[in-house]
Amino acid sequence: MEDRNIISIRKADIYQREALILANVNLDIEKGSFVYLIGRVGSGKTSLIKTLNAEIPLVNGEVTVAGFKLSDISQREIPFLRRKIGVVFQDFKLLTDRNVHDNLAFVLQATGWKQTKAIEDRIDDMLELVAMRDKLKVMPHELSGGEQQHVVIARALLNDPDVILADEPTGNLDPETSQDLLRIFLELNERGKTIVMATHDYPLVRQFPARTLICEHKQVKESPDNVEEIDFMELLEM
C-alpha cells in the first residue's frame, strides 16, 4: 500500500521561520497522479512545495518523498532527493550567468552525467519537448518569462524524475501559453509522471479538472469531487 504513494505526509507542521504556515497536514499522493494545490496568496502552497524539496526543514511529523524520509534526511542526502524531483520554480531560478544550453548541461554534469554526446542528446530532447531548441545559446535574461518557464520545465525533466513539483508555473504567462504549458504537464502525466501543481489560475483548473487540494486556514483539505463545487470566488478574495 505504502509503495503506491510517491508522497506521503503524516501530522506535519510546516513553518516558515518561526511562523506556522500549515498545521497537522495529512496527505497521500499516488504515483502517476495529477494534483492541483490551490489557495490564496500566502496560504502555504509554496511552503508545502519547498518542504517537499527539503528547502524548508521539516519541524514536526513524517514526510516521505520518493523514498526519502524528510524528518531525518541528512545534508548529504538532499542533493539525491532533489534528483528524484523535478521542480518548476515560480521565479524560474535559472543560472543567470550562463546560456540555456549551459544551464541544462550544469544539471546533467552535477548529477553525474559524464559523456558529452549523451549530455548533448538529452539537452536536445528536452528542449525539443518544450519547443525551445532554437534558444540553445541564448542567455536567460534575453528570454521572455514564458520562454524561461519552458526552459525550467526542460531542466526539471532532465533526470527523468518520478515527480514534478510546479509552483505557480502559469503565474507569469498569458492564457494561451498557460494552456500550452498545462498540455505539456498532462502529456508528462500520461507518461506516468506524478505532477503536483500549485496554482491560482482557477480557469485552468476548471478547464482541465483533476484532484484538487485546498490550502486554507493553515490546513490542507481535499476539495469536493466535483470541481464545480469549489468556491473559487471565495478563494480569490484577499
Binding site: R17, N53, E55, I56, Q75, R76, I78, P79, F80, R82, R83, V87, F89, K93, L94, L95, T96, D97, F106, V107, Q109, A110, T111, M139, E142, R155, N159
Partner: protein
C-alpha cells in the same frame, strides 16, 4: 546590435575578475617585497656580524712555520670564516700611516707584535660562543693574547635581535592584513554569485560539485596574481641590482627564488582557503537568508 550583447557582458565579467586579480597581485607584491626585506635583513645582520674581528696577538719568538700551521688550523676550524696574517712590519707600516708619525725612528725599534686577524661566521658571534672561542684560541702556544671589541659585539647582538623581533612582529601583522584583504576581495566576488550558488543546490548539485569551479577559478587567479607580482619583484630586483650588490651577493638569487615560491604558495593558499570558506558560507544559507 544583438550580437554585441554577450560580448559586452563577457567584457564586464572579465573586468571584474581583472580587478580581483590586480588587487591580489598588488597585495602579493607588497608581501614579496617585505619577504625579500626580511630574508635580506638576516643577510645584512650576518654581514655585520661577520665583520667583527678577533685579533690573535702572537708571541714575538714564534717561527713563521708555526704561524702558518696555526693559520691552517684556524682556517680548517668550523667557526672561522677567514684569517689574515699581519706581520710586525706590516703592522708598523699600518700604524705609522694611521698616526702620521715615524714612531719607529722615535723609539728606535718596532714594539709591535705579529698577529692574525680572524673573522667568524655569523652563528658563532653570540657573546657566549665568543667567550668559548676566546678560551680556545688562548690554548694555542703561539697566541699571546686575544683582542676583540667586547662592547661592539654586545651592541651588535643586542640591536640585531631587537630589529629581528620587530621584523617578525611586523611581518606577522602584515601577513594578517594582506590575508584579510585578499579574503575580502574573494568574499565579495563569491557574494555576487550567492543566488547562483543557491540555485545550483536546488537542482541537485552536491556541495563539492558547486565548490569545485569556484576554487579552481580562484586558484587560477591566485597563480596569475602571484606570477604578476613575482615579475614586478624581479623587475625591481634587476633594476636596483647594483645598489643591492653589497647586501645580496651571490645568494641573492637564491633568496629571490625562495621569495618567488613563497609568494606563489601564498597566492594559491590564501585564494583557495578564502574561496572555500566563502562558498561554504553561502552553501549553508537558505534562500531567504541571502538577502541580508
Amino acid at each position: 546590435m544583438k550580437k554585441q550583447k554577450p560580448l559586452k557582458l563577457k567584457r564586464r565579467v572579465f573586468r571584474s575578475y581583472l580587478s580581483a586579480t590586480v588587487s591580489i597581485s598588488l597585495v602579493l607584491f607588497l608581501f614579496g617585497l617585505f619577504g625579500l626585506l626580511v630574508l635580506n635583513a638576516d643577510k645584512l645582520s650576518d654581514y655585520v656580524r661577520e665583520n667583527i674581528g678577533f685579533t690573535l696577538v702572537l708571541h714575538d719568538d714564534v717561527k713563521e712555520i708555526d704561524v702558518i700551521r696555526l693559520q691552517k688550523i684556524l682556517d680548517a676550524s668550523e667557526p672561522v670564516k677567514s684569517t689574515r696574517f699581519i706581520d710586525k712590519e706590516t703592522a708598523a707600516k699600518q700604524l705609522q700611516e694611521d698616526l702620521g708619525e715615524d714612531f719607529q725612528g722615535f723609539l728606535g725599534f718596532n714594539p709591535l707584535l705579529s698577529s692574525i686577524d680572524v673573522k667568524l661566521y655569523a652563528e658563532y658571534t653570540r657573546p657566549d660562543s665568543i667567550a668559548v672561542l676566546e678560551k680556545e684560541f688562548l690554548k694555542y702556544p703561539q697566541v699571546k693574547e686575544v683582542y676583540y671589541q667586547r662592547d661592539l659585539v654586545n651592541l651588535i647582538n643586542e640591536n640585531v635581535s631587537k630589529i629581528g623581533l620587530f621584523l617578525i612582529v611586523f611581518s606577522v601583522l602584515l601577513l594578517f592584513i594582506f590575508t584579510s584583504l585578499i579574503n575580502n576581495t574573494i568574499r565579495i566576488s563569491v557574494y555576487s554569485q550567492r543566488f547562483i550558488i543557491n540555485t545550483m543546490q536546488l537542482v541537485g548539485a552536491t556541495r563539492g560539485f558547486i565548490r569545485k569551479p569556484f576554487i579552481l577559478r580562484s586558484i587560477t587567479f591566485g597563480i596569475i596574481g602571484a606570477l604578476v607580482s613575482d615579475a614586478l619583484l624581479a623587475l625591481i630586483f634587476m633594476t636596483y641590482k647594483n645598489e643591492f650588490a653589497g647586501i645580496f651577493k651571490i645568494s641573492g638569487y637564491e633568496t629571490l627564488g625562495i621569495v618567488f615560491l613563497f609568494v606563489l604558495a601564498m597566492g594559491i593558499l590564501i585564494s583557495w582557503l578564502s574561496t572555500w570558506f566563502a562558498v561554504n558560507k553561502f552553501l549553508r544559507l537558505r534562500f531567504d537568508e541571502l538577502f541580508y
